[in-house]
């Protein structure tokens, strides 16, 4: 299964990629901001894991753009971020995020959330 990892921090992308590989996701694409992610989000992507705070285009704007496109409207999207206030989480839900992980996370937490999101969207 193919996953798109979006974060402006190269360190964080490596950490997420490493965590994904430990749980069996080996076909991975990376992007440094929302705009680049939209360009790379073709029909082969089955899961998007995105940061919130990024330059050029942030995570929420990217999520809204994906939800607004019929070809990506049902794509499972997991937000991985440091933003933990209730208002931010509500905003993410309204934008169309399917799961929410706070940094720092463990590989097990990431796996659990991915499983929830993927099974939810395929139901």
């Amino acid at each position: 299964m193919k996953c798109l990892v979006v974060d402006d921090s190269a360190t964080m992308r490596r950490i997420v990629v490493n965590a994904l590989k430990t749980i069996g996701w080996n076909d991975l694409v990376e992007a440094g901001d929302g705009k680049e992610a939209l360009e790379k989000c073709d029909g082969s992507i089955e899961l998007v894991i995105t940061d919130w705070n990024m330059p050029v285009m942030g995570g929420l704007d990217m999520v809204r753009a994906l939800r607004g496109n019929p070809s990506t409207a049902k794509l499972p999207i997991l937000m991985v971020t440091t933003r933990s206030v209730k208002e931010d989480i509500m905003q993410a839900v309204e934008a169309g995020v399917n799961g929410y992980v706070l940094k720092p996370f463990t590989p097990q937490v990431l796996k659990d959330k991915i499983d929830q999101v993927v099974s939810m969207m395929s139901a």
């Binding site: 921090s9 964080m12 950490i15 705070n53 989480i89 940094k103 996370f105 463990t106």
Partner: protein
């Protein structure tokens, strides 16, 4: 200040000097010498000075500029008190948190490295079944990867501190400019031009500790937000 203003200022200085001489001459009236003639001469010279008619207008202009400068300084001081001082109080706490985050992450990594070394020792001595021991070692190394998330978190915390200091520096610059431009409208207008710091690319409230508890709260908030109204 225009060339004309400069010329009037210079003549004004000379006028004040003459007035001072006049006052001295009046005070010397009691002295037995030709002070009256001296006074008449000074008065005639004063009457001939054209800048004396300009004096009231110039005084009003200077008063207006000083008033505007004071008004600008008051506005800046109030803004600094309302916003920047409060945030300055946070700066120390944020920097302390950065230091604490780094130290905690370093300790966790060292603990993980110690456990990894212990597992390697076990493997060398043949004291554990190969697959389990290698998996345990792999888990420890992957956990070390996770601890490196502190770098992203403290980078965001430091962005917040940097933005705060830049904001305060900008406000100080405006105050300094007010004196150079004598409280001109452009100087005061710049008070409103200090833009708020954009937090689009970082979260100044990023935290490293209590991750399990915070994730549990986030999960509850997420479920609540998804629940139908």
């Amino acid at each position: 200040m225009t060339t004309r203003d400069t010329a009037i200022s210079a003549e004004f200085e000379q006028t004040l000097t003459l007035l001072g001489t006049l006052l001295q001459a009046v005070n010397d009236l009691d002295e037995p010498h030709d002070s009256l003639a001296n006074i008449q001469s000074i008065v005639r010279e004063l009457q001939s000075r054209p800048n004396l008619q300009e004096l009231p207008g110039m005084m009003l202009k200077v008063y207006k500029e000083i008033s505007e400068a004071l008004s600008g300084i008051r506005a800046t001081r109030q803004t600094i008190q309302n916003h920047s001082l409060e945030r300055l109080k946070d700066t120390h706490e944020r920097i302390t948190e950065v230091s604490s985050t780094t130290e905690n992450a370093a300790l966790e990594m060292m603990n993980g490295l110690d456990r990894s070394l212990a597992l390697i020792d076990t493997l060398e001595k043949g004291g554990a079944t190969g697959a389990d021991a290698y998996q345990a070692l792999r888990d420890e190394v992957n956990a070390l990867y996770s601890h490196l998330q502190f770098q992203d978190i403290i980078a965001q915390q430091l962005h917040g501190v940097t933005a705060l200091l830049a904001e305060i520096e900008n406000r100080m610059q405006v105050v300094a400019t007010l004196f150079d431009e004598a409280g001109s409208e452009s100087g005061i207008a710049r008070l409103g031009a200090i833009t708020a710091v954009h937090e689009d690319t970082y979260n100044p409230d990023a935290k490293f500790g209590d991750s399990s508890e915070r994730q549990a709260l986030a999960d509850a908030a997420f479920q609540s937000a998804r629940a139908p109204a």
